[in-house]
């Protein structure tokens, strides 16, 4: 009997050890999945799994940039564009007129012609769509007559004219990044969506098997399991070498990678980066992006009701000085995080070197708190909506440093959805927030008195408005740099947001299976940019 039990125990132990050991590496001889000529991508379950993800909110997933195109194709930095659906563009000297000429003979994946009418339809629909990135609304509402159309008092947009394959935009004020925004904006098929309710466009049944205009088209959608992309025979550009993409809805990207069923993945989660880095098949490429991690103070609501705990700017300054951001960055985000003192990264040419570096100084922090008459008997409510372990560790560290200067901290994760908790419920003093920005306009746009969310915690302060407007309108690099420098000074003066870190994103590519040309430069994976996917191939 004892012998049998011993055998059973050994068997159990062996299986447990096998589970804990390093996973098998993909077969270097090219067996099994090595020769499986399907490019594997994942969407994590928890998101909607019964439709292709709508593109006016998140745009940059690899299966999105390869199926839907915009008028222009931006570079990795998102600053320059080259023609895509458009063949050329021209901006008037005053920046108020933009003429875009479309390529001839463009087609949708169902063979229908893709024309300037689709562009007009997409922009008009976007103005009334509920789920859309703010960068589009900010740019398109500057088209003459767009606001009236959006509000329903006009049937058309006077500043949006279509003449053959030419689209002319007349703007009420120059928009510095108008062309770059058009480089992000996915064009939708009018013939398929013209009867859809713009408010619920993101949920339209069109997305179950969308008609596309990129190098691939969706050929099969199996709800909850996967969808398949295959070559779009109506695509006029260079035919991609990879003929099939399978996008799987899965719960665990690491398991997919370990099973050799993941060819491309991007993340800024240190847990995932650590696990994927252990797999020799994957090549990691860190990418500098405008991804901010910062604390927002709940200062005052739109009616002017003030939260006395954080209203004094000295308290806010004390908080940022009390946190050893460098130590946190080095321990939690090794080679992934950079310190952030304002909306402009430290290594950017527009960074204002005269602003404060907020060096870790607990003595000064304590002095500032005392000077501001901070009530140390009061508990500071620190909240977060992130549930990943690194974020929890991050906030634990922040709470620890605040404790070191005598602040009692109540740290918790929000129970409800982030937007409601941050801007409507507002039961916190400071909350952790992230922002993946397309440009500096978004970071500074949060300070605008008109920002529908931030006005609920910043009281609709107008101090930034003029500079933000100038930034939005500016097209000249030197002028933009000057405005940005002024904005950095102002934001440090008011400290309405406490910048902590800027995080890189890491792109992982299955190097055993996929060959990516060395000329490919990756940018912000949440935005459309040229990754030359047509040149990618299987090894």
């Amino acid at each position: 009997m004892k012998k049998r039990i011993a055998i059973l125990m050994v068997l159990l132990l062996s299986l447990t050890l096998a589970a804990c050991s390093t996973p098998t590496e993909p077969d270097p001889n090219g067996n099994g999945d090595q020769k499986d000529h399907v490019f594997y991508v994942t969407i994590l379950t928890g998101d909607t799994t019964d439709k292709f993800p709508h593109l006016w909110n998140n745009r940059g997933a690899i299966f999105q940039v390869t199926t839907f195109r915009s008028l222009f194709l931006p570079n990795a930095e998102l600053t320059e564009v080259k023609p895509d659906l458009a063949s050329s563009y021209e901006i008037s000297e005053d920046g108020l007129t933009v003429e875009v000429v479309m390529k001839d003979n463009l087609k949708w994946s169902d063979g229908q012609p893709l024309t300037a009418a689709d562009v007009e339809f997409s922009i008009k629909t976007n103005l009334k769509a509920a789920v859309s990135n703010g960068i589009y609304t900010n740019a398109f509402t500057k088209i003459e007559g767009a606001s009236a159309y959006k509000e329903g008092s006009a049937d058309s947009i006077s500043g949006l004219e279509v003449d053959g394959n030419k689209v002319t935009f007349t703007l009420t004020t120059p928009v510095g990044n108008f062309i770059q925004v058009l480089g992000q904006f996915a064009i939708y098929p009018k013939h398929k969506l013209e009867n859809a309710d713009p408010l619920e466009l993101h949920n339209n049944d069109f997305w179950k098997l969308p008609v596309s205009n990129g190098m691939y088209k969706v050929t099969e959608f199996n709800s909850g399991n996967y969808f398949i992309l295959e070559l779009n025979e109506h695509y006029e550009g260079t035919k991609p070498k990879i003929e099939k993409i399978q996008v799987n809805f899965i719960a665990d990207a690491i398991a997919a990678a370990q099973s050799n069923k993941l060819d491309f993945y991007n993340t800024n989660s240190t847990d995932q980066i650590s696990e994927l880095s252990k797999l020799s098949a994957y090549k990691a490429t860190p990418v500098d992006i405008l991804f901010y991690r910062y604390l927002i103070p709940n200062i005052k609501d739109a009616t002017g009701k003030v939260n006395p705990t954080v209203n004094d700017v000295r308290v806010r300054e004390a908080i940022i000085r009390a946190i050893d951001r460098k130590a946190i960055a080095e321990s939690l985000y090794p080679s992934l995080a950079a310190l952030s003192n304002a909306g402009v990264p430290l290594d950017h040419s527009a960074y204002n070197s005269s602003i404060d570096g907020y060096a870790y100084d607990p003595v000064k922090a304590k002095a500032l708190l005392e000077e501001a008459g901070f009530d140390f008997s009061k508990t500071l409510k620190l909240r977060m909506y992130h549930t990943d372990q690194t974020s929890i560790d991050f906030m634990d560290a922040v709470a620890y440093y605040l404790g070191e200067v005598g602040i009692t901290v109540d740290l918790a994760v929000f129970q409800g959805d982030a937007t409601s908790e941050l801007f409507q419920v507002r039961d916190y003093d400071f909350a952790l927030k992230n922002l993946s920005a397309f440009g500096f306009e978004e970071w500074y746009g949060e300070y605008a008195s008109t920002n529908a969310n931030f006005r609920n915690i910043l009281g609709g302060e107008t101090a930034f408005d003029e500079l933000i407007e100038r930034l939005n309108a500016s097209t000249e690099a030197a002028e933009r740099a000057e405005i940005l420098k002024e904005l950095q000074v102002l934001e440090q003066e008011l400290l309405y947001k406490l910048p902590l870190l800027q995080l890189k994103n890491v792109i992982f590519i299955n190097n055993d299976r996929i060959s990516v040309p060395s000329s490919v430069k990756f940018g912000n994976p949440w935005y459309n940019h040229d990754i030359q996917f047509e040149a990618w191939s299987f090894k």
């Binding site: 019964d50 909110n57 960068i135 609304t137 199996n222 709800s223 937007t419 419920v425 978004e442 746009g445």
Partner: protein, 317 residues
């Protein structure tokens, strides 16, 4: 019996109404807004039209009006639409319920056969080697959480050996039931382990209890063959508490297992419930929880029926 059934079914109606009201108003207390959930605060958002969407979906109406509107539509057979995905809830159920049913059914059958079988043999061979194995299985199955088992079997059989898929329910070209059976092996096995363990322990203990009764000794003294004593005299009586456990597992067929479906990316009802709760997608939460509640209430009726059938002392009253 017909009267009993009608009475029980009629009693279900106020219970389901009460459950639906409790779930709805409890959701009202949570600070989750499905429309806000649609847009991540990590991205700049276009807030202007969000309010128009909220208005068009009737989300600005008072809770009581929304509840009765939902109830009225439900009575008319209109389950409504998911706020998050826009898909009709009927379609969600039609798509997800088969996945949950097939996984739960296979696990239930597996765990029932193995659990009752080993439990029976353990009791008959008390302190024999099969009893030791059964007891180890019982302790291991009950004490180790399902998600841990799931991760371990994925690591061994999907990642280390590469024999089975690590998740999902099907792959292109493998959508027919028998073609995709291999996708079900790991989740069904994992789900069955904990279910087997509980059943095994109950069956063993119940059998041991019955085997010590006087009427079993009497049966043996009459010279009735041993197998007949076990199966006909002892097992029938021992089955009663086991049956209660078994029947109360039926709601899993409808509600699925959130843990198993999450670990194995199994697209069933459980994962729909989880994601709809995170998003505050109340039309989906209401219908799915009501389905699960109905399944539990029906199971309870089944328990009453089964008890009466197995025990002549119990009457349908």
């Amino acid at each position: 019996m017909a009267k009993f059934l009608v009475k029980k079914i009629l009693a279900m109606i106020p219970m389901l109404l009460a459950i639906s009201a409790m779930v709805f108003f409890a959701l009202e207390l949570t600070p989750t807004d499905p429309i806000n959930y649609l847009i991540s605060p990590d991205m700049a958002s276009s807030a202007g039209n969000i309010e128009a969407l909220r208005e068009s979906l009737g989300l600005n109406d008072p809770a009581i009006i929304r509840y009765f509107r939902w109830l009225f539509n439900l009575i008319r057979g209109d389950f409504g639409y998911s706020i998050i995905s826009g898909t009709s809830i009927r379609e969600i159920i039609m798509l997800r319920l088969p996945a949950t049913l097939e996984l739960a059914l296979v696990s239930l059958v597996l765990s029932t056969i193995i659990g009752i079988g080993i439990g029976l043999l353990s009791a008959i061979n008390q302190n024999g080697w099969i009893d030791y194995v059964g007891r180890v299985m019982g302790v291991v199955g009950i004490s180790i959480p399902q998600f841990f088992f799931g991760i371990v079997v994925i690591q061994i059989f999907a990642i280390q050996f590469g024999w089975l898929p690590f998740g999902s329910r099907m792959a292109p070209g493998q959508t027919a039931f028998f073609d995709r059976l291999h996708f079900m092996v790991l989740p069904a096995f994992t789900m069955a382990i904990a279910m087997t363990a509980a059943l095994l322990r109950y069956t063993r203990n119940s059998m041991l209890d019955v085997l010590n009764k006087d009427y079993i000794k009497l049966a043996r003294s009459k010279g009735i063959p041993e197998w007949k004593v076990y199966l006909k005299h002892a097992f029938r009586t021992a089955l009663r508490p086991v049956l209660v456990i078994l029947i109360f597992r039926l709601p899993i067929l409808i509600g699925g297992s959130i843990v198993i479906e999450s670990v194995f990316s199994w697209p069933g009802i459980g994962s729909v419930i989880l994601s709809s709760i995170s998003a505050g997608d109340y039309p989906v939460i209401m219908v799915t929880t009501l389905l699960v509640a109905a399944a539990i209430l029906i199971s309870s009726i089944f328990v009453d029926i089964a008890t009466a059938l197995l025990d002549p002392r119990v009457r349908f009253e």
